[in-house]
Amino acid sequence: MKNPIDIRQLATDVLAGIAPEADLSTVGDHEDLREALDLDSMDFLNFIIGLSQGSGVPIPESDYPRLFTLQGLVAYLTR
């Protein structure tokens, strides 16, 4: 999966399992998702797990900061 639209859909689907009331369409591309959607450490780890499993990209821990925003995670996962 290398298409930005698919990545956004993946992020939406994964988030639905973590924060069902969260609406990704209200979050700006440069906003920190953790702040915007009130994700705690466990939520964010679960988010990474879902993105990694859904995209096949391993996502080492040191790269987490690159996935804090929508723009960042789309860029990272479409590489």
Binding site: I18, D40, N46, I49
Partner: protein
């Protein structure tokens, strides 16, 4: 013959409503079996029965009953449940109130039906799959309560009733809203437990700053070569270090009853978990001192998931012998907790921060975490509290032994 009673799921619970029976009258029950779903201010809880025998005389679902009300009778295996429904019925109907659906409950988004990223594909029993398709639900999207999280018939029925109750608000009072709770009721319950705590418990507070570098380095090394699903959060090490320290200083693991300390049997850490939309619950991670970090991570993930999506078990709410609150990576730098009665201590961890720190006379950048204790002065003093904090601190310096 023994009575199966409405359990007190914490100091802040006064009433509950059986919203579903998971056993039929005449069914054999063993200690630890989940027999009913009870709706409380903490959401719908899977209530276990610790009796052994044949269950009967089930109270009807949908009535709000006080803690201690008879919910069913259990006869020793071989006997038959008595048919004296009247006795238990009259006892409970005297106090039963109409369970009117509080405002805002329908607005709260039910969190069931969301697949978890960890285990996106659940096992589904054939009967459950058939029933789900019959009533137009996606069986793979339901959350399961069977072995290994399998979706069983009861889960489908519950989900089906929830779906129908949204369409028919009149049925809402008796529907199990797994994962949703009434925020107003929850706030009142927290207020009442915390007001009681501050009124009755003479708190004292201690805090220390703990060097978290060794623990952080160990975590990074552990996480580096593992899939995200097997990675650990710092909270796991904080939890394990605390549990081990409580083994060495057990005077903080237990209860104050009538001004006297009663030690807890086992170290069952109540893990403070914030619920989305407000509210807080601190269910037990049983035997935390005897579990590996990987096991604790799994337990914590499962517990947080169930605290938020529904499916906490009654024993998890009644068993905690102490509470730990960890604010996580976006939290405040420190926290001084309020003891959850009748416990005698709450241990708090702030966010891990990087700050200047002196090591061997040199100022270096270090990751630090603020550690705090709020404890009951009726059962301990600050001197002993200091020993607990020192023990936690010491364990965090040797993460490989956690």
């Amino acid at each position: 013959m023994a009575d199966f009673l409405m359990p007190a799921l914490g100091a802040d619970m006064e009433t509950g409503t059986v919203v579903q029976w998971l056993v039929e009258p005449g069914a054999r029950v063993k200690p630890g079996d989940v027999v009913a779903v009870v709706e409380t201010h903490k959401g719908a809880i899977d209530v276990e029965c610790f009796l052994d025998g044949v269950i009967g005389d089930l109270v009807p679902v949908g009535e709000r009953l006080p803690v201690g009300a008879v919910l069913a009778r259990v006869m020793e295996t071989g006997g038959k449940p008595a048919v004296s429904v009247k006795a238990s019925k009259s006892a409970v109907s005297a106090v039963a109130q109409p369970a009117s659906p509080p405002l805002g409950r329908e607005a709260a988004a039910p969190r069931t039906g969301q697949s978890t990223p960890v285990n996106p594909r659940r096992k589904v029993s054939p009967a459950a799959r058939q029933r789900a398709l019959q009533i137009g639900l996606d069986p793979d999207a339901l959350s399961g309560t069977g072995v290994d999280g399998a979706v069983v018939l009861g889960d489908v029925e519950r989900a089906g009733r929830r779906t129908r109750s949204v369409a028919a608000p009149a049925a809402a009072a008796s529907a199990a809203h797994r994962g949703s709770f009434d925020p107003v009721q929850m706030r009142q319950a927290i207020a009442s437990a915390m007001a009681r705590s501050k009124r009755e418990i003479p708190h004292y507070y201690l805090s220390s700053t703990v060097d978290f570098d060794a623990a952080q380095a160990w975590l990074q090394a552990w996480n580096r070569d593992r899939d995200p699903v097997h990675r650990l959060l710092p909270a796991v090490l904080l939890l394990k270090a605390t549990a081990l320290a409580l083994r060495e200083v057990p005077q903080f693991n237990g209860f104050c009853e009538g001004g006297v300390f009663r030690p807890g049997v086992g170290i069952h850490v109540g893990w403070a978990t914030a619920l989305r939309g407000g509210g807080l619950v601190a269910p037990a991670i049983h035997g935390a001192d005897g579990r590996s970090p990987a096991e604790l991570m799994e337990a914590m993930r499962d517990l947080v998931q169930r605290a938020r999506a529904g499916g906490l078990r009654s024993s998890e709410l009644t068993d905690p012998t102490v509470t730990v609150t960890s604010l996580g990576d976006r939290g405040a730098e420190s926290v001084l907790g309020v003891i959850y009665p009748p416990q005698v201590a709450i241990i708090g961890f702030g966010r891990v921060v990087e700050r200047p720190w002196v090591v061997d006379g040199q100022i270096v950048a270090r990751r630090l975490v603020n550690l705090s204790l709020a404890a009951d002065h009726r059962t301990s003093d600050g001197h002993l509290g200091g020993q607990l904090l020192a023990a936690i601190q010491q364990h965090l310096q040797s993460p490989e032994t956690l």
